[in-house]
Symmetry: C2
Subunit: 345 residues, 2 copies
């Protein structure tokens, strides 16, 4: 079994830098596309045998040091009472988005063991099938990012509705995020109970916030989730994009490891995160579309900037792009594993 990933989460010495990828199961793999032709994204997430199969696809192909459960950030919104769908390609959409206090008050509490049972069953299947080969990462969305999907009804470039509610009715905003934090905290705990060995909280769009707004509107709810998880013996990763000016606050909110995107060099990011905390990242996913040598030069730069500090997990700054060729992913994993870790053990 490769325990590099879990050791790095705990900032223990590792023989090689561990590597895995966000969206390592996805449209760039032909075996994934073959399944997607037969099932919708939601069917794949909600059918444990399909989620198992897709979760394992990248583990079969690549020597990655972790599996990540195939699932979607928006799943917990459905049992809260929202109608979630994926229209067109894979873009999420929420019918009748949350806009008013009444919409917020109407959202249900969630009992993950019942309402999200297929996800938990998929976790049990994956753990059994992996047989300890690599650890399994579970995940959920952070309150700000989930709230933005619930309020905008999908992805947004301006977050106008989200911020209008946040600024216009802070009490309602906090009530919504409180509900989301409760659901997400419970869901992550249930995932750990079902067998995931690490948990990643995705605050993917939080980089849309000014730092002061992050502290006022997002941090308290994210912190509550990490506090709730602190009694569970599973390492946690706290991820966002566009967070160059938020990293210190994200660390304060919680997480054993902070996920970093490519917009800030990893050494500078880690300096802002501070000591006593791991860092995950931070190659631009678009470099997987580049010629081999440029890809590996980029990876070497990331590894160099992490050298001398325990707790680095190699990853991209965001998910693998659909246009990526699998040979590039394989070459990147091999390169990271061939890189001599110095001062890291």
């Amino acid at each position: 079994m490769s325990d590099r990933f879990l050791r790095a989460c705990r900032r223990e010495p590792v023989d090689r830098t561990p590597v895995w990828f966000m969206r390592q199961a996805g449209r760039y793999m032909e075996e994934y596309r073959a399944l997607r032709r037969r099932y919708t994204l939601l069917e794949m997430c909600r059918t444990p045998e399909l989620a198992l199969e897709v979760t394992l696809q990248p583990v079969r192909r690549f020597a990655v040091d972790a599996a990540i459960l195939f699932s979607d950030l928006l799943l917990p919104l459905a049992p809260m009472g929202l109608r979630v769908d994926f229209v067109g390609g894979e873009g999420p959409s929420v019918e009748s988005p949350v806009r008013t206090e009444e919409d917020i008050d109407r959202l249900h509490a969630v009992e993950p063991r019942e309402d999200l049972a297929p996800v938990l069953e998929a976790i049990r299947l994956v753990r059994a099938e992996l047989g300890g080969r690599v650890p399994l990462v579970g995940f959920a969305g952070a309150p700000f990012t989930l709230a933005s999907y619930a309020i905008e009804g999908g992805h947004s470039s301006t977050f106008a509705h989200t911020k209008a509610l946040m600024y216009g009715n802070p009490a309602a905003w906090h009530r919504l995020c409180d509900k989301l934090a409760t659901v997400v905290g419970g869901f992550l705990a249930a995932q750990a109970e079902a067998g995931v060995q690490a948990l990643q909280l995705f605050d993917s769009w939080v980089g849309a916030l000014a730092p002061a707004d992050y502290r006022e509107f997002a941090l308290p709810h994210t912190r509550r989730i990490f506090e709730a998880l602190s009694s569970i013996d599973v390492p946690t990763i706290h991820f966002g994009t566009g967070t160059a000016t938020l990293l210190g606050d994200m660390r304060a909110a919680g997480g054993d490891v902070i996920g970093v995107d490519w917009r800030i060099p990893l050494d500078q990011a880690w300096a802002r995160i501070g000591d006593g905390c791991g860092a995950q990242g931070n190659l631009d996913p678009a470099l997987l579309l580049a010629p081999r040598q440029r890809l590996l030069d980029g990876a070497a730069d990331v590894l160099r900037r992490a050298a001398g500090r325990p707790g680095h997990i190699f990853n991209l700054g965001h998910g693998i792009l659909p246009a990526t060729r699998v040979e590039q992913v394989a070459a990147l994993v091999e390169f990271v594993h061939g890189y001599r870790v110095t001062g890291n053990g």
Copy 2:
């Protein structure tokens, strides 16, 4: 005549902090929507009398310290040989986007005085009509941002095609950006000749780049534009979003004033920009959707962080959002003008 804006561009003492807004003419104004019901966006940009009318709409409504020519970043792409259109709302689209070396080699040189004559005529009309009341700002897109529209065919969230070309064929990328820099430099010089009193270069999407990639792929072309403009006695503003880690490099590329978005507090941004340079920004446009007091508190915070340094121009961190109420814009202008500038003159 209000000369606050031009004085601030030169970092000279001002009685009040000057204020104007990106997209101060736009869908949030009923008089704009009335015209848009009768004309397409391109018709409005390419008919000097319509561009004049729309440019003046916010100057009539608000006590802004500058007018900005109503135009669009993508206009120069059309005479280069690309088919530009605005489908649906106002989202730009380029038919047959640039993807190959052949596509790049096929792009024409542009003679702004002929190919963009309606824009220059609009400038002359606006100057005559303004009668010196407030200065007129001209603008164009920076090579990276224009290239991304030309390559993606519209707005993108991943810039996958753009970066694939940039990494995959750097020579072709630089040839494309060189062509764009030549066109943009010539266009901006022609705008100055036609009468604009300041020039803003929009590198709106450059925050998608890692800092090292910015230095390799964007900065040289942007610098060439600012160098070409250095012989012209018109102040320049260099704007981008998501640029917290790029501000020092943007300043090195050029511009008398650096535009800053809300993702970094203005004092921290200015420290990264360095001395001897102005700063424009940096209120979150979504704050115009907030209750009055929160809007003004946000504005006061921006003004406080700029206090003691000459060369601050108050603006948003990006364009006014369509859902904005005009009363909010008026109140913000009044508040900025009522704020006592300290240590600034």
